[in-house]
């Protein structure tokens, strides 16, 4: 399974690779190309680009004096941005902080999983297949059911907290749910497949002979990992971190189910409540836009820094 495979460049074998790479990979011009991409792009235009523009328009609306709940007038009220940013920058920062920690945790957990399946179990097709399915199959249990299960497992009266308390790993009145810790755990857990799959897809094509070359050149196991395996799997790592970080920073379900109302509120929750509870469409739209721009800026900087144009 080649899920989320970010195409890796061939490692540059001699002759053969050059030949394959030369004129044969030339791209054609022509009508067929347009016919192929047009339907999809029209769809994306209608249901992604246009909506984003209407969101942009909405974010500049004003509430005319005396208007009732949910009634706004088209305008160019850039002040909306200042207002929501002024009130909600902490949630924005927190979202990024949580997403960052969750991404790091998912990387720490997902990389060994991917490595185990892709490299250590190479050649053992059946076992590889089963483990790969186990990585995606949680999607079918429903994200919320699993999060709810975590909530129960980590509840104050659940199986884990009393044990931790007894072991003094948690203070007597300590708890796991309704904490930032729980929210980050939930994010880590729920986006783990998005981290693992691209790394797997990359490591699967890792030429293990390069690892051997590393050890042949006096690099110990860990050094080989650090200097050879990891750098080579960077495209996968970058794809994985992006696919984890982006949805995690916009998520609100984990914070809603596993968080409290104090130090776990994420920007997604705010956007949701601005839309649905406060019925402040311009504010919600402005916040959405700020979130999108912030992510784009972060992602661009990140991709520039670690270089990979595979995804974009």
């Amino acid at each position: 399974m080649n899920v989320l495979a970010a195409p890796a460049k061939p490692a540059g074998g001699p002759g053969a690779a050059e030949k394959a790479g030369g004129k044969t990979l030339q791209r054609r011009r022509g009508r067929t190309g347009y016919l192929l991409i047009l339907p999809g792009f029209i769809f994306m235009l209608l249901f992604f680009v246009l909506p984003v523009f209407s969101l942009l328009a909405t974010s500049l609306y004003t509430k005319p004096p005396g208007a009732d709940i949910g009634q706004f007038a088209p305008a160019l009220e850039f002040g909306n941005y200042a207002v929501v940013l002024g009130s909600y920058w902490p949630e924005l920062l927190r979202s990024f902080a949580f997403a960052l920690v969750a991404t790091a945790a998912a990387l720490l957990i997902g990389y060994p999983m991917a490595y185990l399946v892709a490299v250590r179990l190479r050649g053992r097709k059946l076992l590889q297949g089963i483990l790969l399915v186990l990585i995606i199959a949680p999607f079918f249990t429903s994200f919320i059911l699993r999060t709810q299960a975590w909530k129960q497992i980590l509840a104050d009266e659940g199986p884990v907290v009393p044990v931790l308390r007894a072991l003094s790993l948690l203070p007597a009145d300590g708890r796991l749910t309704a904490t930032a810790f729980a929210v980050v755990c939930g994010l880590t857990y729920n986006f783990l497949p998005f981290m693992t799959l691209p790394i797997y897809a990359n490591l699967e094509r890792l030429d293990t002979r390069l690892i051997e070359a590393g050890s042949d050149l006096y690099a110990s196991g860990f050094t080989t990992f650090r200097t050879v395996t990891l750098p080579l799997s960077m495209p996968g790592v970058i794809a994985g971190t992006l696919l984890t970080f982006i949805p995690a920073s916009g998520d609100y379900v984990n914070a809603a189910l596993l968080g409290n109302n104090r130090d776990t509120t994420m920007i997604g929750q705010v956007i949701d409540s601005r839309f649905f509870r406060v019925v402040d469409y311009p504010g919600a739209a402005a916040l959405s836009f700020i979130l999108m721009l912030a992510i784009l800026v972060l992602v661009t900087a990140y991709v520039r820094r670690f270089g990979t144009k595979e995804l974009i």
Partner: protein
Amino acid sequence: MRKTIGRWLVPVFGGLAFIFLLVPIGYVFAFSFNDAGRTNLSWRGFTLENWLNPCGAPAVCEALGNSLQIGAAATVMATILGTAIAIGLVRYRFRFNATANMLIFLPLATPEVVLGASLLAQFLNIGAELGMGTIIIAHTMFCISFVVVTVKARVASLDPKLEEAAADLYASPLQAFWRVTFPLLLPGIVAAALLAFAMSFDDFIITNFNSGNVDTFPKFIYVAATRGIPAQANVIGSAMFLIALAIVIGGQVLSHRRSKLLAAR
């Protein structure tokens, strides 16, 4: 000594990661056998009742049915549109190549709340009735990018010489596509479709914005979580997991067997 640690570190750590991944699913599975009341929070005794009567909480099955329909429709649409884009982008040159790639990447870089909210704004603007249709459109939209990314990798690794060989062997462009290109892309397309279905089936946030009064399985559970998730939801969650597992493992075993048989001949 250090070598042994190194040898075992990855399997042990990776194994723990898998356990982490599976614990809540185990919990869901276990509580599908709970003799639950209106809430399914505490263990009240073992029963098979929920499994024998999975539609005992009728809304669950209805929501599941919706989710399956939506998943199927969105998967088909996203897979067709996305595969076409992937082939087009890899094999053809366009003047606006960079823009096209950006257009595929942007939805991936947009948080779900934003996608959901903007699409909702759009639907309201054009007065579309929220329901199955709008959910399917929304799901198709966010699945396309994943399909493109997945299939693109496959197309890129496909040797264009094979298509040339087909043309050389009297296959018209259409025949070359169906007989050579498509079957070779199929594993990538299947993987993409599987992923698309999984993501559609599991989506809550975007769905919540655009679903109107149609319940999907995740949405049902999110709402039910406020009043008590019926044990039947656990049954369905577990069953879906097991079915997905069985299908893919079954496929794996079959192809494994077949390749063994072929090799043996």
